[in-house]
């Protein structure tokens, strides 16, 4: 290394290599990415957001929500759930006794512990998850035994891992989920919960707006900063505005006034509601849960 040109060459080679690998190759591989079809259906995914919700992503960016929130769910792998959906004329007690006898079979040794644990506190409500995240072979054996005994059951494919168990999503996030996002806000720290699927967890815009205005009112001891500057106080004209916040006494505006969201807050809430990664894809399969009644909002 007598001359400067060789240093230049060394840097050129090293950085050029990393540029080809981590800039050029991903652009070529992913740059022409298109919508994919949902697993076992012809629907296209992801659907582009409306202008209003897309504008909300800019509010999200401008206020640095990604400094505290990730929007990427991870999973350890996939497993099978065995769900009991019908018992015919059997009583729960009979069923428990039957399961006890099954647990003694050598075929089902792998899962006997989790089976008996899952059934210990069961009061007979259906559908009941008998096995969770089991291997496919074990789940199949159990389902066969149940159907031989005239019981109705289903085997469902589910993703497993702590994020899934926290109810942060039904599957891990994949490249397709972010197709329309600009800028992509994956985040790197979880000071707050993951938001990849927050629209499914809290589908009520009023809840979202109240939480943005006063996180500490909705969640005791929350360290999320309130975003009150996205709201304005207005004189009530006749009837209260439909989206005026219902605030507890200590935060309520003086009488005759009400707190209403600005457009920015509404856009942000619309964006949050649009964060739903709920459909199975080829590279992230799972069996969608039967359409359940809308989940109640929980703090």
């Amino acid at each position: 290394m007598k001359n400067g040109f060789r240093i230049f060459l060394a840097a050129l080679v090293a950085l050029g290599f990393s540029w080809c690998a981590f800039v050029l190759a991903p652009v070529l591989q992913l740059g022409a990415e298109k919508q994919t079809t949902v697993l076992n259906s012809s629907d296209l995914y992801p659907v582009q957001r409306g202008d209003f919700a897309a504008q909300g992503l800019q509010v999200y960016r401008a206020n640095g929500c990604a400094a505290c929130h990730t929007a990427q769910v991870q999973q350890d792998g996939v497993g099978c759930d065995v769900v009991l959906t019908g018992m015919g004329t059997n009583q729960p007690a009979d069923f428990k006794a039957f399961m006890k006898s099954l647990c003694e079979l050598p075929d089902l040794q792998n899962c006997s512990d989790s089976l008996s644990k899952n059934l210990a506190a069961w009061n007979g409500a259906l559908p009941k998850i008998l096995l969770h995240g089991a291997r496919e072979a074990d789940a199949g054996k159990l389902a066969d035994k149940l159907s031989a005994a005239g019981l109705k059951s289903e085997v469902r494919i589910v993703a497993t891992g702590p994020d899934i168990a926290r109810d942060w999503g039904l599957r891990h996030s994949v490249a397709e989920d972010f197709l329309w996002d600009d800028p992509v806000q994956l985040g790197s720290v979880r000071i707050g919960p993951d938001l990849a699927n927050v629209g499914a967890r809290f589908p009520d815009a009023r809840w979202q707006l109240l939480h943005l205005y006063a996180p500490q009112v909705v969640v005791k001891g929350s360290t999320m900063p309130p975003f009150r500057y996205l709201f304005k106080m207005e004189k009530t004209r006749g009837e209260p505005a439909p989206d005026a916040l219902k605030l507890p006494r200590e935060l309520a505006p003086p009488s005759g006034y009400e707190v209403v969201p600005t457009d920015q807050a509404r856009e942000l809430a619309a964006y949050l509601l649009s964060l739903r990664a709920e459909v199975p894809l080829h590279d992230a399969p799972f069996t969608p849960p039967a359409p359940a009644p809308a989940r109640p909002n929980k703090p």
């Binding site: 290394m1 007598k2 001359n3 400067g4 240093i7 230049f8 060394a10 840097a11 050129l12 090293a14 950085l15 290599f17 990393s18 540029w19 690998a21 981590f22 800039v23 991903p26 652009v27 591989q29 992913l30 740059g31 990415e33 401008a62 206020n63 640095g64 929500c65 990604a66 505290c68 990730t70 990427q72 991870q74 702590p162 926290r166 996030s173 490249a175 989920d177 972010f178 197709l179 329309w180 996002d181 600009d182 800028p183 992509v184 994956l186 790197s188 720290v189 979880r190 996180p215 500490q216 969640v219 005791k220 001891g221 929350s222 360290t223 900063p225 309130p226 975003f227 009150r228 500057y229």
Partner: protein, 475 residues
């Protein structure tokens, strides 16, 4: 004064105005960074403090603090050190000092615009690249000018054979324009689609925070450590090896495990990160050979302590960087406070400490004045070092605790959030210490600068007065 000393002082003087412009601005942003960092951490003591103040909300102040440290302090300080070092080791003065002087001001102007942009809500939304377009173009051109001048000084060197510090610094000069233009073009000007954005942003972050800082900081350490210990550098080939492995493996890290991207990307990154141990060890061995036997006798020499501690922090932060890319470990550490802990150790523990040492050595020589508060500068070493420890250790330990709890879905998120609070509070005291250390640094740098300005004024005054007197005499 013999020939060599005369040339040395001529070189020092030729960098004077450029270095003062770079370092005075850097010192200013350093304090701004720690004030912004303190405002951000206030959020965990009273989250409702800035509910009505968009400019000071956590999501804006926190990236602004990081960028003020990285772009405001680290890069201009590094460029100043590189300029001086290339001039000194090439035994040639810097010509046309006006250009780097103007470029330095342009750079600091860019940082000002960028920080205001972030606080006003115009951040680009990409980690370490938050500055909006109005700031990134002045930064880019200012860097080009400064790098060009440093390269010209290097090209005009009288000592043709190059030494390890020069390779590191020249590579760094070249590194930044490439990564900064790529990232700005593909993320801001003509954004690529979907997660490719995230990949480019991670690539940029790794190449700036790990590779660029390592090239400049380690290059400076390889120059100063043998110099402070008064012995010739003897480890040419090992340093060459460290250089090659650092640029090859370092530039391929950065894609987190489990990211929603094609699987080969994180795998490539984790292999590169495992190989990173090679350059880390090589750097430590080179540094150790340079200081072996003199550590105890040099313990009261301020700049030596700063640079030495910087190398130790470089090794530790490199290990943490490796841990974040190791699939088994990052299951726990990913998405936790461990991530910012590593970044702070890299930015503050490694780079800023090294630069403090370098600047305390360079600036008095270049400006031609002694440090105004040398005793405080010595105290600053201990203050800053304990500040780094109190900032980084709680975040790293708290991050591991947080990660273990996140792995257990039985523990609710609110409980986890609460149990990290004590760690955050301790780290705030670390930030306070760092602020104190930074204030001492500013006091010294500003004191030196104003001593120089006063002397320039005096000379100018003398010039103005002199002809007047003769005129009076004649009248």
């Amino acid at each position: 004064m013999n020939e060599i000393e005369k040339l040395d002082s001529e070189i020092d003087a030729s960098c004077r105005v450029s270095l003062l412009a770079l370092f005075v601005g850097a010192a200013f942003w350093l304090v701004v960074a720690s004030v912004l960092g303190l405002i951000a951490s206030l959020n965990f003591h009273m989250p409702e403090a800035f509910a009505n103040c968009p400019w000071l909300t956590y999501g804006r102040v926190q990236p602004a603090a990081d960028d003020a440290l990285l772009y405001g302090f680290c890069i201009p300080a590094g460029l100043g050190v590189a300029l001086w070092l290339l001039a000194r080791s090439g035994r040639t003065p810097v010509r046309g000092a006006l250009v780097p002087f103007v470029a330095a001001h342009l750079w600091h102007l860019g940082v000002l615009v960028g920080l205001i942009g972030i606080l006003a809500g115009y951040s680009t939304g990409f980690r370490w690249l938050e500055f909006p377009r109005g700031a990134s173009s002045p930064l880019f051109y200012a860097y080009l000018l400064l790098a060009l001048w440093a390269m010209m000084t290097f090209g005009a060197r009288r000592e043709r054979a190059t030494s390890p510090p020069q390779w590191f610094l020249v590579a760094a000069l070249f590194w930044f324009p490439w990564i900064y233009s790529t990232a700005n073009l593909l993320l801001v000007a003509w954004p690529v689609r979907g997660v490719t954005q995230a990949v480019v942003a991670w690539w940029f972050g790794d190449n700036l925070l790990f590779v660029w800082l390592a090239l400049v900081g380690v290059g400076a350490a390889f120059y100063f450590l043998p110099k402070f210990c008064e012995r010739p550098p003897q480890t040419f080939y090992l340093a060459l090896f460290a250089f090659w492995t650092l640029v090859l493996f370092g530039s391929l890290c950065g894609i987190p495990q489990g990211a929603p991207v094609p699987a080969w990307l994180p795998v490539a990154s984790s292999v590169a990160a495992a190989l990173l141990l090679v350059p880390l060890l090589a750097v430590v061995i080179v540094a150790w050979r340079a200081v072996r036997g003199s550590v105890l006798s040099k313990w009261d020499h301020g700049p030596f302590c700063f640079v030495g501690a910087g190398v130790v922090c470089f090794f530790l932060s490199g290990l943490m960087w490796m841990a974040l890319a190791c699939p088994e470990i990052c299951r726990v550490t990913e998405f936790t406070w461990f991530v910012p802990a590593q970044a702070q150790l890299q930015l503050y523990g490694f780079f800023a400490l090294t630069m403090f040492g370098a600047i305390y050595h360079i600036l008095p020589r270049s400006a031609g004045f002694e440090l105004p508060f040398p005793k405080l500068a010595r105290a600053q070493f201990w203050i800053s070092l304990s500040g780094v420890a109190l900032l980084v250790a709680p975040l790293a330990i708290g991050g591991v605790a947080q990660g273990r709890q996140l792995q257990n879905p039985g523990i609710s998120f609110a409980v986890i959030s609460n149990s990290t609070l004590p760690f955050l509070r301790v780290s705030t005291t670390g930030q306070l210490l760092l602020l104190l250390g930074n204030l001492i640094f500013v006091l010294n740098v500003f004191g030196l600068a104003s001593a120089w300005k006063r002397s320039v004024l005096k000379k100018a005054l003398a010039l103005v007065k002199a002809p007047l007197e003769t005129a009076e005499v004649q009248a």
